[in-house]
Subunit: 287 residues, 2 copies
Amino acid sequence: MPAEAFLHAKAEQVEAALDAYLKSLDGVPPGLEEAMRYSLFAGGKRLRPALCLGAGALVGGDSDVAMSAACALEMIHTYSLVHDDLPAMDDDALRRGKPTSHIKFDEATAILVGDGLQALAFEIIADMGNIDVIREVAQASGASGMVGGQYLDLQSEGKTLALDELQHLHRSKTGALIRASVRVGAMLGDANSKQLESLTSYGEHIGLAFQIIDDILDVTGDEASIGKPVGSDAAHNKSTFPALVGLDEAQRLAREAVDAAVSTLDDFGTEADAFRDLAHYIIERNR
Amino acid sequence: MPAEAFLHAKAEQVEAALDAYLKSLDGVPPGLEEAMRYSLFAGGKRLRPALCLGAGALVGGDSDVAMSAACALEMIHTYSLVHDDLPAMDDDALRRGKPTSHIKFDEATAILVGDGLQALAFEIIADMGNIDVIREVAQASGASGMVGGQYLDLQSEGKTLALDELQHLHRSKTGALIRASVRVGAMLGDANSKQLESLTSYGEHIGLAFQIIDDILDVTGDEASIGKPVGSDAAHNKSTFPALVGLDEAQRLAREAVDAAVSTLDDFGTEADAFRDLAHYIIERNR
């Protein structure tokens, strides 16, 4: 599948760059550095870096510049996973088939891994010298974005949300950073305002599709594929798309979001095929 | 005492600015915003902002510019306190005489308050448009600075450190951000390289003095003054300056650091008196 090949190729480049960043660290206590490395290399799809690099390439940007931002975005994403998995949050012991960071090390180390990865992400972005990019990532990942979404998610346990509340939650929790990943790549590639608008819309639609499918996989997936126990949303009494609108309607909403994402790419030529494939892949993935 | 008047005046300005930043937030869930406000207004001395503003003024900088950085530094400091107080870390229920954030709210909220404050700090600094300042704060607060120091602190429980190991721990855990506070103020005030060097050295020396006195107060202070139980270092089996070198020698080391701090100000005139007073105040404070 082309999208898998695209993701795989980007993941290899990103992992080499992440490895180089970790190796260049100076003065980090070895145990903390090991835990940061474990958390960063626990085997993600590297979707956010791929979106950043892909958007940059699509508007003709320099891939070396976008790579720094791509790594920073993955560090932000990883820190959020490490903190979300903590006992006081979602209390997950497995992620992508491996022990989560607080299980592998301890809770204090996991908290500090997250804090340190967030600071490192901003240090890397600072080195790029682009103020707009720093602001974009800070807003998307902060209390009005990703962090606020995780707060809403925890508050919603045991409650039945309305569909628009659930969409707002996911727009914050996962959508904001996915949207920012596409935008940052486009901004670094000096996208014009029409390109930036189209790609922003692409990011918003695939972010929504991604979350709907995540909810669906928590009902229909199998543990071996998704790398963590299925049914954890139901166990936490979380509102999900399938729970609110049923499985069929949730799948229809995901398809609708993917179609909308693809239609934002109409002004781009065949060089946007990777992003078209990626949008379809999101709905077809099984993990 | 002049230093108390200086700190008080700066604290009032900083708190007004912090209040304005919180009020300008858009899209933060109300419960999370309330917890961020509680944590930021739990009554600190605002030492780091005062150092930033004071250093900026000393080299003739614009105080409005330094105020943004001062607020960001206080947000970073506050996030570190909120995370350090968590049960998995130092497990403190009281800070400055008030329930710590995870006691007042819950652990998940406290983790997210810290994460959100860190992101907000970088958003504010990004808006200032000074890349060197962003890099300075990210390095000082990250895994090779403050976060790394907290990791070393937790690892050192139950161990007896050598004096140089203890100094390294504190240089990371508290010294790095204090040093950065002075440097950022100086950088924003367009300090020349000699001024920046002197003020950097000032920050390093008062950071050390501050930590030695903190250790001493944990032995000799009273709970009503310092706002938290005394003896918590001993209870956690932490290495401290008094434990390693004795109370008298610890006091002598603190005086030596204060004298060294004051001597870095020789090239400044009377306008540096507030910083001279502040150095002496650090050793005379009882909380």
